[in-house]
């Protein structure tokens, strides 16, 4: 095996069955599961072609932000009552119902914003990626499924290209870029 930067072999397949067969063949070549992925125009069930076993943890960030939002709402109302006390006949300075409402909305607001930010980070979405080439093939919009394997250049790369071609892959090529 020749040492060097890992490359990505991409092959286009006509349907899920063909792509699944190719992925099985690649796994038999001891390509680790985390080095395989698909690019498709529809979400494929996990395990149909490849399986992603990495845990998804960002919902906890949403929960944390929700708590921060609730506390901020509570602080906003309670501190306001203390700093600018409004004396109204028969009414307490600290009123609980508004604090509940503002805290609730504060919590939901923070959770919504956190879902966007944490979701973007977890998915790896960024409007600008200067200097980075991401692996992609727009022919997925014609119904193709792109099977991608991160491989070491040299023997493994050649073997994976041949396996994908033998499994019916079209436009099989090795590229430099990120999966």
């Amino acid at each position: 095996m020749t040492a060097g930067e890992p490359r990505v072999v991409v092959g286009l397949f006509d349907g899920v069955e063909m792509a699944s067969q190719a992925a099985r063949a690649l796994r038999s070549l001891r390509i680790p599961e985390e080095n395989l992925t698909t690019i498709s125009s529809v979400p494929l069930p996990d395990g149909a072609v490849v399986r992603d076993r990495r845990p998804i943890r960002f919902p906890w960030i949403v929960v944390a932000f929700w708590i921060v939002g609730v506390l901020a709402g509570l602080g906003l109302t309670l501190v306001t009552y203390q700093v600018y006390p409004m004396v109204t006949a028969g009414k307490p300075i600290n009123t609980v119902p508004p604090a509940i409402i503002v805290s609730y909305e504060g919590g939901m607001f923070a959770a919504l914003i956190a879902t966007l930010i944490a979701g973007f980070r977890s998915i790896g979405l960024r409007p600008f990626r200067p200097g980075k080439k991401m692996i992609f093939d727009p022919r997925i919009h014609e119904g193709k499924i792109a099977l991608c394997a991160r491989v070491d250049p040299g023997d493994q790369e050649r073997l994976v290209v041949e396996t994908m071609k033998a499994s019916g892959g079209e436009s099989v090529r090795a590229e430099e870029g990120e999966l």
């Binding site: 494929l44 009123t95 409402i101 939901m108 607001f109 879902t115 692996i135 119904g143």
Partner: protein, 464 residues
Amino acid sequence: MKSENHLSRLDESRLYEELSRSNLPPTKRWYAGTGALLLAVLLAVAIFTYMMLTGLGVTGLNRPVMWGVMIILFVFWVGLSHSGTLISAILRLTRATWRAPVLRGAEAMTALALMVGGLYPLMHLGRNWRFYYILPYPSERQLWPNFRSPLLWDAVAITTYLTGSLLFLYFGMIPDLALARDHAVGWRKKLYTFLAAGFRGTHAERRRYHVASTIFAVLIIPVAVSVHSIVSWDFAMAMVPGWHSTIFAPYFVAGAIYSGIAGVISVMVVLRRAFRLEKVLTADHFDNLGKLLLTFTLVWGYFYFSDYLTTWYSQFPEDWEVIHSYFGHYFPLFATLVCCNFLIPFPLLCLRKVRRSIPALFAVSLVVNVGMFTERAQIVVPSLARRNDPSIWGTYFPTWVEISFIIGSIAMFALIYVLFSKLFPVVAVSDVKEQLFHTTDRTVGGANLSTVVRGEGEEGGREP
């Protein structure tokens, strides 16, 4: 299913063409229509400027009726906005198989109706240039807003809901923006590339995207419910006859969903016609929406009756005077709302023929929205006109200024919607594709049926 109406017969590239017709270059008719809407909006803005310079005296507002058309429009548009995101979130979570073509149009309706509705409390302020007094920030005024005021709760709730609805709309559009990016050229390509944020559709991306979308849907439902509850508390927290009711929050939410579903139907019919989406939005979709509308006709009827039953039974004098006015001075309002919200839609929506006839369902949805506007007017005006002290009883009728705001609000909503649909995919193309991916034809005896294949849970598949 008739083969000519079956989208899966189309190949994927043609599918995109079919579903993104709204993004085609504008025609002369489009320019004419958009120009007319823009003119109407500009006219309303000019009249608003006149009102701002002259004062609220140019409206029909006067003691004791200090809330009029602007508050009615606020409640109406916030109500209309209610259903889009809510329907979309519920359909996403329950994975309703017919949801795909309806989602985007409904979500857009929410965000855009809320933008229109949110303007009216600001317009109603009087000294509009001081609207920023509602923001809690350390200013030279040395005074923070009064959180005891339900109007401030409105500002908080609407900000949350508008932000949430816009994020929900945008997040749901990301796969479609990626699709549009790969088909577009010129400035559109740049715009879609930026907004798609590098989404490619890898397996890991889609798995995480699904989780984030589900969280959005879960979060937006309680926000949607809270926002109209808080709008209802603008009224219910006041010791005004007809308003001070514990049932107001659920009653408002039910009414908002009701008018929202009617709004979704109206918008869907217009989109179907304008962008020739007959293959996407079929009679089945309208039948399902019609059933939802029928359900909420009954729910609304139940709440309306429950709200008045206690007053009717107890006959407390101040509340009873308000009810009396419904059969006197405000009878046209009352009769219109009962007819348009219940007596006309209920029997019609029971008929399958009506639900599956798109023009008939469109007409019913418009009738319901007229009814819901009237209902908002009936909530706002008679209670103020017949307040506790008979010596201050009065009447209210909108002036030409306020009527122009009604027209302006409709034109503004239509204008923003037209611009949105020209710029962004108005049908959730990726969701339609996903639906087709999971749909297969199956023959049972002599019948050919469309069958939906679904995995268990969000992951879809199980370990072999």
